[in-house]
């Protein structure tokens, strides 16, 4: 157990981030907090990918002239996650834009109040 915690702690962080993110998204009444939860959830996945690339004593994957010098950390997941982060930022931007629109229309960001207003319409 202790062994697991000391060697695999990044995976525990991943699971925690995913769980916290999902919990906030489901449980929070506030739309902005839901978006924060979404970001935390995505970050969990980012950390998961980055962890998968890690290599004990691995160096940064820059091959010097003449080659050799491994083992290297796998660069592929880093590149993938750069893309995924960009996607995440755009999603957050769109989501916050929608939140602004909702606040303009209904004057509230509380999900319960919102659903009451929507059924009254």
């Amino acid at each position: 157990m202790i062994d697991l915690v000391t060697t695999r702690y990044t995976y525990i962080v991943v699971v925690l981030l995913l769980a916290i993110g999902a919990y906030v998204m489901i449980e929070s009444d506030n739309l902005v907090k839901k978006i924060i939860g979404l970001n935390v959830f995505q970050t969990g996945i980012f950390v998961f990918f980055i962890t998968s690339a890690y290599h004990v004593n691995g160096r940064s994957p820059v091959v010097e002239s003449g080659g050799g010098g491994g083992p290297f950390v796998s660069p592929l997941p880093h590149v993938l996650i750069l893309t995924a982060i960009v996607v995440g930022v755009s999603l957050t931007a769109v989501a916050l834009g929608l939140v602004v629109r909702i606040h303009d229309s209904y004057g509230t960001l509380n999900e319960d109040t919102l659903s009451e207003v929507l059924t009254d319409d």
Partner: protein, 498 residues
């Protein structure tokens, strides 16, 4: 040689989106023209590349000269040729309705073209991470389009869709992560070989399968992961409902097909039979629950939305059963559903504009006033129920046939039951339109209209033409389905052989 043109399927609408912005700076009428020209080009390109792929076998291109499996590969085989052509044709058709019905500004047409780019990319990509990126591109464009109705309600629906859609795409990404850890590759063809080497019962492979299926099933709106979908379809502008109901979930279901058969392959199902059983059960539940929920709706657009839940259940059941007939049926039903549902949403939007009727009761007596619109939408509804010779029948027939041949006859029973339920809600609507006396709202409009503002007294030519065209295509497609089967047979055999 023709391989090198494959990336244009994604590049043309992307470039069109940029040109639409530029045109919007010069003139307000610019963006719709640019969008129409771009999509016309896209139809030509998809038709050309698609027909070559159908006739001469799969085309593939390593983008930027990076050879697969290291680079991103774009592949057009028979099935993706059909889907990418469907995307091009339907988006061009709906564009005319959008220009006519709710002409948005520059942003609207840019998002529209970005959505086409994302969907085309999803159809032709041969790389699982690239698929995630295109999934998010089309997702982002869809959220913005849903909110483009400008009402607070549409913003709420779009945000709900965004939260669901992003979690779905994230789960898919998590699945890709597990597959990457297991094999170290992202190329679909390469993954199928390496996943087999890792062993199909490895926890990594099973986890990746589970996450990917749940992610894509949410995007395709299977029960109980469908809850974002009725609001999104109901509150979006009419043209956007038509577009996204026809294409977005369709392409997600196509992506599921790609993953199930190109990446995991039928051998995975043989090694892990519970995976197939789970998907069949999940989809069968979706067929029944979607139909039941549709029957109890009083709003027409919402009813059509729940009907989609059930139709995608049918498609996924066809995919999971996995005999050649069932997979072919699933592809036919995907195409047929896109045309029928797109046409029905255009009809519903037009009727809303004409009379303000949005509920089933509001449709009373409509066919007397608008015989062509009513007649064409009745044809589409009957096609959706599965009355021969329409395409709805062909799709269901092949899926049921495949299921019976595979020995999973309960699936055939579910399909039959859902057909009855589909008949129940569409027959109600047809009865309202053709038999019931006109409702006050229709009569008020017929008397010159006392509703909000003035309403046109006849459907616009574009909308009417689209609905009639959809009805004709739905019937003709059902008649030529055997030709399509001959064309798609080699592709489906290859998919199911590995």
């Amino acid at each position: 040689m023709i391989d090198t043109f494959v990336p244009l399927l994604v590049a043309v609408p992307l470039l069109g989106a940029l040109l639409a912005v530029a045109a919007g700076l010069l003139d307000d009428r610019g963006p719709p023209v640019v969008a129409a020209l771009t999509l016309l080009g896209q139809v030509g390109l998809a038709g050309w590349i698609g027909s070559r792929a159908l006739l001469e076998g799969p085309l593939s291109n390593g983008v930027g000269g990076f050879v697969a499996p290291y680079g991103i590969e774009l592949v057009v085989d028979g099935v993706s040729a059909v889907v990418v052509s469907l995307v091009a044709v339907v988006s061009l058709g709906v564009l005319f309705y959008a220009v006519d019905d709710d002409p948005g500004g520059t942003a609207f047409y840019t998002e529209y073209l970005l959505l086409v780019a994302g969907l085309s990319g999803m159809s032709v990509t041969g790389d699982v991470f690239n698929l995630y990126v295109f999934l998010e591109i089309s997702g982002l464009a869809t959220y913005a389009l849903v909110a483009s109705a400008g009402t607070g309600r549409s913003a709420v629906a779009a945000l709900k869709y965004l939260l669901f859609g992003t979690v779905a795409a994230s789960l898919y990404l998590l699945g890709v992560g597990y597959a990457l850890i297991a094999t170290g590759t992202l190329n679909m063809a390469d993954l199928s070989v390496k996943l087999a080497q890792v062993g199909y019962d490895s926890p990594l492979v099973l986890a990746s399968f589970g996450f990917i299926v749940v992610g894509l099933a949410t995007k395709a709106a299977l029960f109980p992961l469908h809850t974002w979908q009725p609001d999104a379809y109901n509150d979006a502008p009419d043209s956007v409902s038509a577009l996204i109901s026809a294409l977005v979930s369709t392409v997600a279901a196509y992506a599921l097909l790609r993953l199930l058969y190109t990446v995991y392959t039928p051998a995975f199902f043989e090694a892990v039979p519970v995976a197939r059983d789970a998907i069949v059960a999940f989809a069968a539940l979706s067929i029944v629950a979607g139909s039941v929920l549709a029957v109890v709706q009083s709003e027409v657009k919402r009813m059509l939305a729940y009907s989609s839940v059930s139709q995608y259940g049918l498609v996924v059941v066809g995919l999971a059963v996995g005999t050649p007939a069932a997979v072919f049926g699933a592809v036919v039903h995907l195409v047929g559903h896109a045309i029928m549902k797109g046409g029905l949403f255009v009809a519903a939007g037009t009727i809303d504009d004409l009379t303000g009727a949005t509920t089933v009761d509001g449709y009373a007596g409509l066919a007397d006033r608008f015989p062509f619109l009513g007649g064409a939408s009745a044809v589409l509804m009957l096609a959706m129920v599965g009355v021969p010779p329409a395409v709805g029948f062909a799709g269901k027939w092949y899926i049921a046939l495949g299921a019976v041949r595979a020995g999973t006859w309960p699936v055939a029973v579910v399909i039959f039951a859902s057909t009855l339920l589909t008949l129940a809600y569409f027959a109600l609507l047809i009865e309202r339109m053709f038999v019931a006396p006109a409702s006050p709202s229709v009569r008020a409009a017929a008397d010159g209209g006392e509703g909000e503002g003035e309403r046109p007294d006849r459907p616009s030519r574009v909308a009417l033409a689209l609905v009639v065209l959809a009805a004709v295509v739905a019937v003709v497609l059902g008649l030529v389905v055997t030709n399509l089967q001959i064309a798609l047979e080699p592709t489906i055999d290859t998919l199911l052989a590995s």
